[in-house]
């Protein structure tokens, strides 16, 4: 089947890989050490729109850990560590299963494509046939809608777009400027990067309120 296969790797997998590269375990201090690597990974890779929010969430958990570390706040059980502890077993299970899968097939069914044994008029009418089909067409598959968002968004592009706009506008309301959800998340991530560079100021009155972004840079037109 030549269908487009969309790979959505778990951010936890990426964190594990980054740790392994540096021969680190997943203690809090090790996680602090790879936070920047993870951020770099997100910036460099094309991440499916559908996955951007999830990567951002993982990043925010790592950043929280890092901030706590800098401020010397001791969190008893950081959430990201609990997630990784659990995911460690998923990785083990995955490896076992992969080997078992490759060794198969072990038990075979009959491969025969059967042929007609009898013809019995079924108790269905033309209308049943039509109903069967219309149900299929109407079936609200929530998952389908998400598949529409296929395009990839590069964070670098988002940064460029955001800077272009700020050059002209100086101040924008994030949610009013970017309506599309997937894109909004990427722009938000890009704005966090600019905020980190102190290139912008961000304001939000209350949680869930609109976010105002103001440029700190002096642009010469």
């Amino acid at each position: 089947m030549s269908e487009e296969v969309i790979i959505t790797e778990s951010p936890l997998e990426i964190i594990f890989q980054l740790l392994e590269k540096k021969h680190l375990d997943f203690s809090s201090i090790s996680l602090v050490k790879i936070t920047d690597d993870f951020l770099y990974y997100i910036q460099e890779k094309n991440i499916e729109t559908i996955a951007v929010g999830d990567y951002l969430e993982a990043l925010s958990k790592l950043l929280l850990l890092k901030i706590n570390h800098i401020l010397k706040i001791i969190e008893p059980e950081p959430e990201i560590r609990i997630n990784l502890e659990r995911y460690k077993f998923v990785r083990q299970a995955r490896n076992k299963l992969k080997n078992l899968w490759l060794a198969g097939p072990i038990i075979l069914s009959s491969q025969k494509l059967t042929s007609k044994l009898i013809f019995i008029a079924p108790k269905i009418t033309i209308n049943d046939l039509m109903t069967g089909l219309s149900l299929l067409m109407e079936e609200p598959i929530v998952e389908e809608k998400e598949i529409v968002l296929k395009k990839k968004i590069h964070i670098k592009n988002a940064l460029k777009i955001l800077e272009e706009i700020l050059k002209k506008e100086k101040e924008i309301v994030l949610q009013d400027t970017f309506k599309e959800k997937g894109f909004l998340i990427v722009i938000f991530l890009a704005s966090l990067l600019l905020y980190g560079e102190q290139a912008i100021q961000m304001e939000q009155e209350n949680i869930f309120d609109k976010i105002i972004i103001r440029s700190n840079r002096e642009y010469t037109n």
Binding site: M1, S110, L113, K116, L117, I118, K123, I126, M137
Partner: protein, 166 residues
Amino acid sequence: MKQEVNLLEAILLAASAPIKKSKLAKIILDFELVLNELKESLSEHGIQIFESENEIELTTREEFGEQLKEFFKLESEELSTSLVEVLSIISYAGPISRSGIEKIRGINSVYSLKRLLIVGLIEKVYNSQRKNIVLYKPSGEFLKHLGITAVESLPNYFEFRKNIIG
């Protein structure tokens, strides 16, 4: 010897189609002997070895013909929703391949196809260009049962067809 007999039986079940004796003799030592053993061991069973000059096949015993029909008749009389769904897709979007059906339904449909084939509601069509691709279409008998002679007479045929094929 017992191992070889069982291996032969397993091969025949997995294939459920005639296999060349010469091919089997290449991997089974004393093939004729093993074959006879297998026939012997199935002598009291509901399945048997059907042998022609060059090939053998695992088949059901003829005496069950009527009862088998009885059973599948029962199946056909109460088609499950998933069978009706597959039948609808084949009627409106056929001739269509298995993967085409699965793409529309989002679910593996091999067993539904086998069931519909047994009870004669659908038929296989081979693509003239690509012989290894099997397509499915409603059987003539089924259309007749619906009171039509061609799929185009199905209600909203062109509209529905366009919608599901996309």
